[in-house]
Amino acid sequence: MAQKRNMFAEDIELPEIVMQKANGAFAEIRMEGTDEMKKNNVRMFRVRKAAVAAAVCGLIAIGGASVYAATSHFSLLSLFRGETEQTRHSAEQLFDDKVEQERIVDKKQTKWANFKVREAICDNNHVIVNVAATAVEPEKYVLIPSFMEEKFDSMSSIGVKGEDGKLSMSDYADKRGKKILKVNAGVSQCKAGSQSIRNVLEPDGTLLFIIEFDNKEKNKTLDYSCITVVTPPIENVTDDDLIRDKFNFTLVERSKSEKIRYVPLSKDKVEGTDLIIDDVSFNKSDLTTECTIKYHYAGEKSAWKEYKTKDLDIMFFMLDDHGKIVETDEGGGIELDGMKVTGTSYYKLSDLPENITFMAKDVCEKKIYGKFTVKRVD
């Protein structure tokens, strides 16, 4: 048995994908390590999301009849297709395809590719920005995000469907007699803990960076910078070869928002845990509802001067009238501030009832702890 257990300590082979992604991180670290990036608090490529299928939304009129444009374009509004009519309507109201922005002037970069913020949806809780990158010579190059690996990542990672979607990025480029050109884009100066980025390659070769993050500013006018990077297609490229630039853009937040506060019916610990709930509040905006649960620890941690660690696995889930978990939206997280813990999650909710019950659950072990109920404070 002891010999068998040794297999856990035996030498292992690191899979190629692990090495490739680690090398990607090291390259990114070198890029973020530049003074310019640090100054701008750039945290570009945090969470990679699955690509969304390109949705046709552009219509052109020929001879009085509407037909789909030959070159279809993705629209941020297509992200809301599965939502309620009210949410879709709100998204349309907040949709901005004339984002105020500077133009990139770095001649070195514009020799290869151009970037612009094509559209944005800005809500009191959430921001979505669509940055479009186009190759100057689309007949020669296929644009791919620089944090992807052309030999490992398939074209489906950037939303290409069908047989082409199964091809690796390098095979896809070879099939078309083109070369790979790596580009990258991210938003800086947003206070969100992370940004999620998904990519879509449109039929005309435009590569989209759909960047989403929590709106932590809560101002009506939001000033951001878009950091852009082109990796020139040369052999043995080094960090010094990367062509970086940035441009500023401004979003206007026009959503309506309402804050609603709840207090727990009991000040006891949540059954089975060391957690005491202090306060629950909701910020209901046009597109999402942000729920923040403030709590603290009883037991051993209550003697600490400041929390340094948190329970990794216990999360609170809102229950509906039938005791079923209400599905959460993307985003959120847990923050520590001295002796306070704040858990944030996002929901798609139309109404908030008088009383709401939450359940504490260890999501890794799927162990269910107790419930707690909060009452609305008017």
């Binding site: 297999m7 292992i12 090291f26 973020e32």
Partner: protein
């Protein structure tokens, strides 16, 4: 007289001193030092990530994210001797986060089947698959990386008694998997 042990101790001491130098340089925002440092821990990171996520692609994502977080937060590390524990804790957090995301998207049983597509370290993955999720990570940290029970308890935010129980039950499951009766 065994000459190997003092020599080995000397080698380990030299290695640790080298690591401390690298940590200090990396804290000074030296990307090359950081890269060299992290390469020393890549296999331990992979062992940990695979024990939680059971598939190479997700393990690679967790490691990538951990490298970025460590680079960003390295200045908060006070004592270089705790570097590895600090690193593994961040990695475990990222692995759990990725698991949570996957659990929202697909049924867990379907998700585990994705591991079948992997071609690396199959024997290790098969042994891990024979263990329940909650026993996998303590077993890997204990046997794979030589952590003590108290250290695992600290890493996983669990009482020592729970870690002991999980190790014992994990051993039982491994015994059954290898067709060996309880020792």
């Amino acid at each position: 007289m065994n000459l190997a042990s003092p020599m080995r101790a000397g080698v380990i001491e030299m290695k640790e001193k080298k690591n401390v130098k690298l940590i200090e340089k990396a804290k000074g925002r030296d990307p090359d030092a950081f890269t060299s440092l992290m390469q020393l821990y890549m296999k331990d990171m992979y062992r940990t990530a695979i024990a939680i996520l059971m598939n190479d692609e997700d393990a690679a994502d967790a490691i990538q994210e951990t490298l970025l977080v460590c680079w960003e937060k390295l200045d908060t590390l006070r004592k270089p001797k705790y570097f590895k524990t600090w690193l593994i804790r961040i990695l475990i957090h990222n692995c759990y986060r990725i698991r949570r995301q996957r659990e929202r998207l697909v049924d867990w049983s379907e998700y585990k089947e994705q591991a079948v597509k992997d071609v690396y370290n199959l024997e290790l993955k098969e042994a891990l698959a024979a263990l329940d999720q909650k026993y996998r990570i303590p077993i890997m940290l204990f046997y794979g990386q030589g952590y003590k029970i108290a250290e695992i308890a600290e890493l996983l935010h669990l009482p020592k008694s729970t870690v002991q129980t999980r190790l014992a039950r994990g051993r039982e499951q491994l015994g059954k998997y290898f067709g060996i009766e309880k020792e």
